[in-house]
């Protein structure tokens, strides 16, 4: 009898430097949620009961789980997603746990790294904001978590390329600061 094993998006996804850490998120549940036509208000009300707000474009909700606007009428929930049984028949729910890879960036020098990779203005990915953009031609989300803490979400298949881009920019930041 076989038992399939899980492989992470990256075998090694950690970068540590003074005031600049990059770490791969692993085993992170993700779900896309799309209210069926005409059910958006009911869905929002049901989610409010669970303490979840659906953010408008450019915003991010950070607790109890992270919620990002994925597209028109679609949201991505990540993390400790509560039981959504109450939404049966009202939404299209699709597991997206394996569709993305996420990196947490932490440290005072992270803004210097992000300005090398993200064309959008820093205000668009400040605390509580999220921006859909490209990092080295990879479609990504940049989410402002707290002061000095950001999350980047990218397609899982490009995890290595995305990490390489982050590392390369981090090396430059560190080298120029020295």
């Amino acid at each position: 009898m076989f038992k399939l094993t899980e492989a992470p998006a990256l075998s090694a996804g950690l970068y540590q430097a003074p005031e600049l850490n990059i770490e791969l998120l692993s085993n992170t549940p993700r779900l896309s949620l799309a209210p069926l036509k005409g059910e958006t208000e009911k869905v929002k009300a049901a989610l409010q009961q669970l303490g979840i707000t659906l953010p408008s474009p450019t915003e991010a909700v950070l607790s109890p789980c992270m919620v990002l606007p994925l597209g028109q009428g679609q949201w991505l929930l990540q993390g400790a997603v509560p039981n959504l049984g109450a939404l049966d028949g009202l939404v299209a729910l699709t597991d997206q746990s394996d569709a993305w890879c996420g990196f947490v960036l932490q440290g005072a020098k992270v803004p210097l790294l992000l300005e090398r990779l993200v064309a959008n203005a820093p205000l668009t990915y400040f605390h509580g904001k999220a921006v859909r953009t490209q990092i080295e031609h990879i479609g990504c989300w940049v989410v402002g978590l707290t002061d000095n803490r950001w999350q980047i979400l990218g397609p899982r298949s490009s995890a290595q390329s995305l990490f390489d881009a982050l590392k390369h920019a981090a090396d430059a930041v560190g080298a120029l600061a020295d």
Partner: protein, 933 residues
């Protein structure tokens, strides 16, 4: 001999460097130019065409002459301006454009042949004999042309890119720029202040006046946290929407930079407003032999003196036509030099103790590798004066280049004798200070062409003289745009910073037209030369473009697969085993294994789109040409997607997992465009439908398990009955593997064999690939790659990207019946237009004992291989290990007439002409029996 008379405003620490192999010492803070001048090294290069000795002319990046090569190997950088290269310990520079040495250059004979090498001479020569052009003239010209040489060794330095946003971008860190930055900062703007030099201060740094006021401004600036100062940063271009490019030189001034530090950073700066405060520089006057080493601009002479502590010569002649020259006279006298002042104007404010000549002009210079004397003409009288340096000023050129980058043309200001910005500026830009012509009214009087009969240089970098301009005008190139291109005036790496205004003045003088009427050419980005490496940034080598790895990539790598890039994906092409030395061996084996046993192929890259909602079926009915409303739950259907114009866009499958839940597949190449198309249809054409489209390409790892033993293999891993009765052809289901892993199973086939596609969440993909081959070892299970995948589908006659090439219709593909006429769908109407509906072109197959090449044209036997005789083309071809011959599929017109006949497949590019038999495109199992077993 040392010309250093003080530390100026730089450090006192000694720095060692070499130039043309000779060791010198300079000071920390020197430029290469100032250090060479301090060592009395005037001869720095040879000019482009005539190989005349040249030295430093200017102080900054407008320098046309002192171009050197810094470094060797991968870091070799030609055409570096010695005036901007900061000195560092161990710097090694060499001169350019000379052989065998700078002092003795064989090609200086060109100078003696100058009368034959005037502007545009190459349009009138090198014509005969015709055969010499490629074999003699072109190689000779290529060897002689160009300035500087590349090492052709890869530059391994890191380069970087970045994006900055601000409310106000201030370009230029002189007094005007600093004041503009302070003003914007005080209003609360986020300000970026870019300065080309290594420190702020601008022209004031190079004057004799104390720096106290500058220091005060800098102290105020430092208090503003909302000001980001970027020195060693040149703003290179002004683009649309307030976007500017800038390059920061991070390590070019360091002797041992960190290996990880990017050498340069290219910035894209988004600004709401911009202030151009770039100042102004002087220009030359055209007189005979005005290009000798030791001839410099007035502001350069006093700049080297005041900032770098370098005295140009113990005896100096200052020649000008406006008041600025006086400042140079005063500073040189204060430094102890013997000064003679020559002024074209009738009067000026004299300097006590300085001999001066008014209503006079310099008409010639003497000296080979350095100026030794100048000839002065005053009221008809000519005489020579010995000197070690000549400082010249013909007027001011405000640095207005960025104002032209969006098509604005500068306008002439007679008050300052220079060009100032016109009315059309890049949106959001204003110009201040000397760049706007402010504070430059210095009683200027015109002094353009003072030549007699010698070489009077207008553009020293391209060796354009007054005679060239006169000749161009004489030959009818009267427009300033034609003048530029015929003479190459302003077309060198300095983009005519010094030369353009002088050239226009010379043209005006000789044509009799006012300067305003002559007009100007435009400056274009970049402001100064930019390294290609900076433009590439991090996008090189492995990081040139992102790579998408399939879930089974680790398995494929361990198995020694050969890989192929498919867009950004890296896919296993084939899996060679021990003993196989040629790719055909591997591919033939894999294809045969699928036909005879079972093979496993990672097909994750195909697009997967979840279509969910109460109107999901109706939506698919609209985007696909064939019908989906009645597709039962648990069934899959092949789908044909048309463009609005009736041409086939993509094909794939749609599997109905639940009443309101489909999974659509697309080709790998069209995954994004189909998704985009479907979103467009949903949002713009059918917003009333209750449907959501969710991309799940990344979320599921999917594997094709194909071959007569595929059922046996799949049954060993899935936790459901997949007998033919329970799970017939085109069935689909959400299910689990035996170990509980969630899965999706589809009974679909691309190969024409009994086949399934099994999907699991991506994190289990690699493990599933290994498991399938492990549990299927006794069945002869093999991995197969994209090559065998291609052979199998050609054998079956399945259309793929080669056939869906943007020109073919459903009818051409033999799928005309699939376009349902009883419902509306994208492309149905225009697919029925006459030209398409009556086309006789059909997809057919070809067989041959000889290799058939994809792209070959099909020509009747006996006809000449011309377009008029073509019957069609070959779209896909391969060797078929199953049939033991070469096969292909393609399109021919009037296909029914040519079935079972022979024709030729001709490739003129490859000189191949192969006889082929025209057959059905379905080489294997045309009745589809194997699929349904």
């Amino acid at each position: 001999m040392s010309r250093r008379i003080s530390n100026g405003r730089i450090g006192a620490n000694t720095v060692r460097f070499s130039f043309d192999g000779v060791q010198y010492e300079g000071r920390e803070g020197d430029s290469l130019a100032s250090a060479l001048l301090a060592n009395d090294r005037l001869l720095i290069g040879r000019s482009f065409k005539y190989h005349r000795p040249r030295g430093v002319l200017c102080l900054g990046s407008e320098e046309p002459n002192a171009l050197v090569t810094i470094g060797t190997g991968g870091s070799q950088t030609p055409n570096t301006r010695a005036t901007v290269q900061e000195l560092y310990d161990g710097l090694s520079a060499v001169s350019q454009n000379r052989f065998p040495s700078l002092k003795f250059d064989l090609l200086s004979v060109n100078d003696r042949l100058s009368r034959f090498l005037t502007a545009g001479f190459y349009y009138k020569t090198f014509m005969w004999p015709r055969s010499f052009w490629e074999s003699v003239y072109e190689p000779m010209i290529r060897r002689a042309a160009g300035l500087g040489r590349l090492s052709e060794v890869e530059d391994e330095a890191q380069y970087d890119k970045g994006f900055l946003h601000c409310d106000t971008l201030v370009i230029g860190g002189g007094v005007a720029g600093i004041e503009a930055a302070l003003g914007a900062a005080a209003k609360g703007d986020q300000v970026i202040l870019c300065e080309e030099f290594s420190r702020l201060g601008g022209a004031a740094l190079f004057e004799s006046a104390p720096l106290g006021p500058i220091d005060g401004l800098l102290a105020q600036l430092a208090k503003h946290e909302n000001v980001r100062v970027m020195t060693r940063t040149t703003v290179q271009g002004a683009y649309d929407h307030g976007v500017y490019s800038a390059v920061t030189l991070n390590t070019d001034h360091l002797s041992q930079p960190s290996a990880k530090a990017p050498r340069q950073t290219l910035w894209r700066i988004y600004s709401n407003r911009a202030v151009l405060a770039t100042g102004a520089h002087e220009r030359m006057i055209a007189f005979d032999n005005n290009d000798r080493p030791g001839v410099m601009l007035c502001s350069a002479v006093r700049g080297y003196l005041n900032y770098y502590g370098v005295l140009a010569g113990d005896s100096c002649v200052v020649f000008g036509c406006h008041d600025d020259a006086r400042k140079t006279v005063v500073d040189l006298q204060a430094a102890g030099a013997k000064v003679v002042w020559v002024d074209t104007r009738a009067s000026h404010q004299a300097v006590e103790g300085v001999e001066s000549f008014t209503s006079a002009r310099v008409v010639n210079t003497r000296g080979r590798h350095r100026v030794t004397a100048v000839e002065i003409e005053q009221q008809g009288r000519r005489f020579w004066i010995k000197c070690e340096a000549l400082a010249v000023s013909g007027g001011w050129n405000p640095r207005i280049q960025l104002t032209c980058h969006q098509g604005g043309r500068p306008v002439w200001s007679a008050a300052i004798g220079g060009f100032v910005p016109g009315d059309k500026l890049p949106p959001g830009m204003r110009v201040v200070g000397a760049a706007a012509g402010e504070l430059l009214e210095e009683n200027w009087e015109p002094a353009w062409d003072l030549s007699v009969n010698g070489a009077a240089f207008v553009d020293p970098q391209n060796d354009v003289t007054v005679k060239d301009i006169k000749l161009a005008h004489q030959e009818g190139y009267v427009s300033v745009e034609h003048l530029k291109r015929y003479t190459t005036l302003g077309m060198a790496t300095d983009q005519g910073k010094n030369a353009n205004a002088l050239g226009i003045g010379v043209l005006s003088q000789h044509s009799g037209e006012l300067i305003e009427a002559v007009g100007t050419t435009l400056f274009r980005p970049p402001y100064t030369p930019v390294a290609i490496g900076a433009l590439a940034g991090r996008s090189r080598g492995k990081e040139f473009k992102p790579t998408r790895l399939t879930p089974s990539h680790e398995f494929a790598t361990r198995r020694g697969a050969a890989f192929v890039t498919v867009g950004n994906w890296l896919r296993a092409s084939y899996f060679p085993v021990a003993g196989e030395t040629h790719w055909r061996e591997s591919v033939d084996r894999e294809a045969l294994a699928v036909r005879q046993a079972v093979g496993v192929c990672d097909v994750t890259t195909l697009g997967k789109i979840d279509v969910q909602g109460r109107d999901a079926a109706e939506f698919l009915n609209r985007v696909y040409a064939n019908g989906f409303l009645k597709l039962p739950v648990g069934k899959t259907r092949y789908g044909l997607m048309l463009r609005e114009d009736g041409i086939v866009f993509d094909d794939g499958t749609a599997a109905r997992l639940a009443e309101n839940h489909f999974v659509v597949t697309t080709t790998t190449a069209n995954a994004v465009s189909v998704y985009r198309h479907m979103e467009f249809v949903h949002q713009c054409l059918a917003p009333e439908l209750d449907v959501h489209l969710i991309s799940t390409t990344e979320a599921w790892a999917q594997f094709a398990v194909a071959g007569p033993k595929s059922r046996e293999l799949v049954q060993r891993v899935v936790d459901m009955d997949i007998s033919n009765e329970a799970f017939g052809f085109m069935a689909c289901a959400e299910t689990k593997l035996i170990d509980g892993t969630p899965a999706r199973l589809f009974r679909i086939s691309f190969s024409g064999e009994l086949a399934y596609e099994l999907a699991v969440p991506t994190r289990f993909g690699n493990s599933l690939m290994e498991t399938l081959l492990d549990v299927g070892a006794d069945l002869g299970a093999v991995p197969y790659g994209t090559e065998a995948l291609g052979v199998l589908r050609i054998e079956k006659g399945h259309a793929a990207g080669n056939e869906l090439d943007g020109r073919t219709t459903a009818l051409n593909l033999g799928l005309g019946q699939m376009v349902a006429q009883t419902k509306d769908s994208i492309g149905r109407v225009l697919a029925n237009r006459t030209e398409l509906a009556q086309s006789s072109v059909r997809l057919v197959g070809f067989r041959s004992e000889q290799q058939i090449l994809t792209g070959s044209w099909l020509i009747p036997i006996g006809a000449s291989a011309e377009q008029a005789n073509t019957l069609g083309w070959v779209s896909s071809a391969c060797y078929s290990p199953n049939l033991g011959c070469y096969i292909a599929i393609g399109f021919i017109r009037d296909a029914h007439e040519y079935m079972d006949t022979q024709m030729r497949a001709v490739s003129l590019l490859d000189a191949k002409d192969v006889r082929v038999s025209v057959v059905s495109p379905h080489f294997v199992d045309p009745e589809g029996e194997r699929l349904r077993v």
